[in-house]
Symmetry: C2
Subunit: 301 residues, 2 copies
């Protein structure tokens, strides 16, 4: 529920990377926050964000950041989100709200259930479906979330006012929110995001082994270049995503292998008509997707 | 060898689609051609090109177009290129030059050897590594080839003056040419273009079968959207490419499936360090490719 004129208070962002930095930037521009505190390991990165005006101050200490926030945002790779949970239980003020931006929900919520006892109802699992292959506060953009979806996956135990506050924050950042059950989130994101990254990562080493590698690299065009951009995403973030959505991703890989096998058989049997209709269907599906999206050229903008 | 002030004469373009239309447009802008004749099956498409000034006139009859050209460009899907070869043998004037833009070279050259007897030395196999997922003369762009590579794969029998003329034509269109042996061409393009299209095409039907398809389609982001653009390429053109480079593509599919299997095993065994280094290597490779390319955001521009 929007309360357009009420301040969001102090927002503490732990992990001031592309997402955390962009959120800081968007919230700053919204004029809806009093104070933005950053927390992370790289002083250089945090100073950069401070100099840009994204932060009011920063700390290396997550406990300090968490205890000061009305909203505490965990925007680190998933392994760190999970690692920080016990500290959050200790540091969060009773009225504070905890949220995250992890690309996998079940795994994080499971860890949160274990680690947060009193504070579990204050945790609002979230995931902005936005971003680019770039990393760090230097890549932060105030409009990163503009017109993008943020998925919120509250549990039965989650406080309603906590959900409202996190919704309000994302609306202030220019996004639109929607609720999605956590298992469904992981399945959907597995399909539209995690599998495509596996697909891209699997392609890259082939270029390295390919004869005439230099020819390939100079010419890299015709689809390879576009797919390879996806594979330049942050290695640590994606290591964690694929590990934490393992069963879903592996199931999708198996299905995808099946599709490759079918295409291979059609090529082997020189089945022109079936290949043509496969490709025509793909084109139709692409057109249908385009019609449903706000006018955007790429995921990565 | 460039002869910057000599007219290219009459250029006949059979197949006035994205590539043929863009070539017409680029050559028109260059001021280096006297006459551009179009040939194809769709009167609407040809009229469109005529109205845009890309063509001086058009015909449905490939024999008429071929007999009039100093340069005869075959820019249809590969199956039509091969089907037209016997007609080319009959229609081409002795001094005329025949060339193509097919994404597969060995298969086309093999067919040319069979069909063109006297005219085989006049045939210069070519392939501009440029384009987009769009189709038709309405997608034609005068700068499509600007700073792009055009691969020429002349044979031992190919006349040198024919190669020079085709080179000159592509330079006039804004491109740069390079020679590449035909089998190497098919291997390289298999890796950087054909396999990526297979990879994209294999992904698409999974969205159709995916539970919560509507959720997927609305959110389609995070990599899926970008990859799906590749899969909206022209179905007939790609049917022909994959069929005509079948052995190379199937070998690459097998290798690619091996990579997917390795990634799957790493996820299964939760091997974080190996996943992270795989992804870090992918990022490095992407950066290296970017440094070698003229400043372009995408293959498809």
């Amino acid at each position: 529920m929007e309360r357009p004129h009420q301040s969001l208070g102090t927002v503490s962002i732990i992990g001031v990377g592309l997402i955390g930095g962009s959120l800081a930037s968007a919230l700053r521009d919204s004029g809806r926050v009093d104070t933005i505190i950053g927390c992370g390991r790289s002083a250089a990165n945090l100073d950069y964000a401070l100099d840009l005006g994204l932060l009011d101050h920063w700390t290396h200490d997550p406990e300090e950041a968490a205890s000061a926030g009305d909203i505490v945002m965990l925007a680190t790779p998933i392994s760190a989100v999970i690692g920080l949970m016990p500290l959050m239980e200790q540091a969060l003020r009773p009225s504070a709200v905890l949220t995250d931006v992890s690309s996998v929900k079940r795994s994080v919520t499971l860890a949160a259930r274990s680690s947060l006892e009193r504070r579990f109802p204050r945790f609002v699992p979230g995931h902005p479906v936005a971003g680019s292959e770039k990393s760090g506060a230097s890549a932060a953009k105030a409009d990163l979330f503009q017109n993008h979806w943020v998925i919120l996956s509250p549990l039965a135990e989650t406080d309603e006012d906590a959900v409202d506050l996190v919704t309000d924050m994302w609306v202030a950042a220019g996004a639109r929110t929607r609720l999605m059950e956590e298992a469904l989130h992981d399945q959907v994101l597995g399909m539209i995001s995690h599998l495509p990254h596996v697909v891209a990562y699997a392609l890259m080493p082939l270029l390295g082994t390919q004869t005439a590698r230099d020819d390939c690299m100079t010419l890299a065009a015709g689809g390879f270049y576009d797919i390879s951009r996806i594979a330049s995403s942050d290695p640590v973030m994606w290591r964690d995503i694929l590990l934490h959505n393992g069963p879903v991703v592996r199931d999708l890989i198996a299905k995808y292998q099946g599709m490759l096998g079918e295409l291979d058989r059609l090529i082997e049997s020189a089945d022109g008509p079936r290949l043509e209709s496969w490709f025509a269907n793909a084109r139709e599906l692409r057109n249908a997707i385009q019609e449903l999206r706000p006018s955007r050229k790429s995921d990565f903008e």
